[in-house]
């Protein structure tokens, strides 16, 4: 088991390293001269040269990469071009905001998706199943942009019952914060619901058709007990993996949702950094997202292994 975890961690580190190279080259080398990008096409050549000198962007590529990544490992994410202050605190603060939004969405969607999936599976092929599945699928394929706008127009403008800006007044209490997060979280919930519901439904149907479920029913156990003790335990396993893979998707969705609802999270931070050509901010934000995603996948893998005796024993061998 320890060897299995070590192997997975090692693999994740290699992937992260490759990721850092990709991010660095896409963000720093390909766009060309950062000083020229900041100062604009009309700036004097010696001004550009001076800024290059100051930013250290005229050094050899490998030196630049090494200084960036070695500082990154020590928690120093560099200095933002636009804010002229350390990137680290800005990124962590934005990540905190995004996490708050993501947690609200997850707390709602995970039980909802599992319940919906199990409920649909128990009526597999009937109308209830079809309604839930079609509903889940159609909200899942729609871009966050569309769902967000429809929700804003309906609840924020027409009915005027919910705030369409997620930024709460400074010093707001937790209930006020949550109140502002309802609409943006709803967008994420609508998109994730379909995935989780589909997985839970498929897992439940498979468990329902299994021999052990039939045995349990035939030996006279009440339906509730069969569902709780035999079906749910087995159907939830694949669902857990799906939930973890949705973390990456969720972060991608956050980019649009945060921009749409004017929320100061990591998604809008990356968009703003990209628009302003603030490369250290962009690279820092993107690499932090990569790390979050890798950790989530890793944790999901390990939890899945711990929960599934078949893999647990295989890994131990």
């Amino acid at each position: 088991m320890a060897i299995f975890i070590l192997k997975r961690v090692g693999l994740a580190l290699v992937t992260l390293w490759i990721l850092s190279v990709i991010v660095f080259f896409l963000g720093q080398i390909l766009p060309g001269d950062p000083a020229r990008a900041i100062l604009g096409p009309l700036a004097a050549p010696n001004a550009v040269h001076a800024l290059d000198q100051q930013l250290g962007t005229n050094r050899p590529v490998l030196t630049q990469y090494w200084s960036w990544i070695s500082h990154f490992v020590h928690g120093d994410l560099g200095t933002s071009y636009t804010y002229d202050s350390a990137v680290g605190p800005l990124v962590w603060k934005a990540l905190g905001h995004s996490l708050e939004l993501a947690i609200v969405a997850f707390v709602v969607v995970v039980p909802l998706g599992i319940l919906g999936g199990v409920w649909a599976a128990l009526a597999a092929g009937k109308r209830r199943d079809r309604v839930i599945s079609i509903l889940g699928l159609s909200t899942t394929v729609l871009p966050e942009l569309v769902t967000g706008i429809v929700l804003i127009v309906v609840f924020g403008i027409a009915l005027n019952v919910l705030p369409f800006s997620a930024t709460w007044p400074p010093g707001a209490s937790l209930p006020t914060q949550l109140y502002h997060l309802i609409l943006p979280a709803a967008v994420l919930v609508l998109i994730l619901f379909g995935y989780i519901e589909q997985m839970a439904r498929a897992g439940t149907i498979e468990a329902l058709n299994s021999d052990y479920a039939r045995t349990a029913i035939l030996k006279g156990l009440p339906r509730r007990t069969v569902i709780r003790r035999h079906i749910l335990r087995n159907s939830l396993l694949p669902t857990i993996t799906v939930i973890a893979t949705q973390v990456g998707y969720l972060i991608g969705g956050l980019v649009v949702v945060e921009t749409l609802f004017h929320y100061q999270g990591i998604g809008s931070l990356i968009v703003n950094a990209a628009t302003a050509k603030d490369f250290p901010m962009l690279e820092g934000g993107v690499l932090v997202i990569g790390i979050v995603y890798m950790v989530a996948t890793l944790v999901a893998d390990i939890v899945y292994t711990l929960l599934n005796p078949r893999i647990r024993f295989q890994a131990a061998e």
Partner: protein, 294 residues
């Protein structure tokens, strides 16, 4: 002589067999309600994209500063925007950009992905491991984030959007093609071709490729839906085509600021257009996926 005759005859047989498969596939698709509805929606937008400017009563670019932010009415079915441009015209004409960029981007991704997948699956070993590692690192980032990085590197515009989406889709498609090739590689016809002395390129593209086409076609249609999704998102974020082009994502991003003032029609119909196109493409993809399943 006799060897040639046999080979010609069997080639003809193979061709007619393939023709038969194709006819059956078509028949199955035409009987699927999902496919017909999806194809209907798609057809509507294709017509809008092809003939858009000649169909709409007003020009999508004509400004009328005496009629800005007008609510939907008989004169302006979808209202007007901040410059008094007719929203109905902009929504209809806006289909063109998405409907050109999405298939092109998906095609680029499919071609690169197929090449990669064939190489990985056929050669296996070090080539496979090496490419797989890169693919995995790439997939560790959400699509939108990679797209933003790519747009920063290449500058905003449709060319960038096509390149970025192509590069993102390539590894995903490569993975599917790779696993299909792994199965094909063990079959007798590949060994026969090798014994005949054919080179790897010939075996990969002439022998194996036709046999792994079904999963590639399915991937293409499924990815097409994601391409629309990604294009709209990127344009909304400001990394796609630039103003004053009529484009759904762009219109939403320019008009979004006035929605709190109650001018909902300036973004709502664009959102609706995106929704119908995405749902239509997904319905077609679903039907194709089901038709190809044995």
């Amino acid at each position: 002589m006799s060897v040639d005759a046999v080979s010609v005859e069997s080639r003809a047989a193979i061709r007619s067999g393939r023709q038969q498969d194709r006819n059956e596939l078509l028949r199955e698709l035409l009987h699927s309600k999902t496919f017909l509805i999806g194809a209907g929606i798609l057809l509507f937008w294709i017509v809008a994209a092809a003939l858009g400017p000649t169909l709409v009563p007003q020009s999508p670019y004509a400004q009328n500063l005496n009629a800005i932010n007008r609510a939907p009415s008989g004169a302006h079915w979808f209202g007007t925007d901040q410059l008094g441009r007719d929203m109905f015209a902009r929504v209809i004409v806006g289909a063109r950009d998405v409907l050109i960029v999405a298939p092109l981007a998906t095609l680029v991704g499919t071609v690169i992905g197929t090449g990669l997948g064939l190489t990985m699956g056929y050669f296996g070993g070090f080539t496979d491991t090496f490419i797989s590692r890169f693919v995995e690192a790439f997939l560790a980032l959400p699509v939108v984030i990679i797209a933003i990085l790519g747009s920063v590197a290449l500058g905003p515009g449709n060319g960038t959007v096509i390149a970025v989406i192509g590069v993102i889709f390539a590894p995903l498609i490569a993975r599917t093609v790779r696993s299909a090739v792994l199965l094909e590689r063990q079959l007798d016809y590949v060994a026969a071709a090798r014994l005949r002395g054919e080179g790897p390129l010939y075996i990969m593209f002439v022998e194996i490729l036709p046999n792994v086409l079904p999963p590639i076609v399915v991937e293409f249609t499924v990815r097409l839906g994601y391409a629309v999704f990604t294009i709209v998102t990127l344009t909304f974020l400001g990394f796609g085509i630039q103003p004053p082009s009529a484009n759904w994502g762009l219109d939403i991003s320019t008009n979004f600021g006035v929605v709190p003032a109650g001018y909902w029609w300036e973004v709502f119909f664009d959102a609706l257009a995106i929704a119908t196109l995405v749902v239509g493409v997904n319905m077609v993809a679903n039907a194709v996926e089901q038709a190809f399943e044995p």
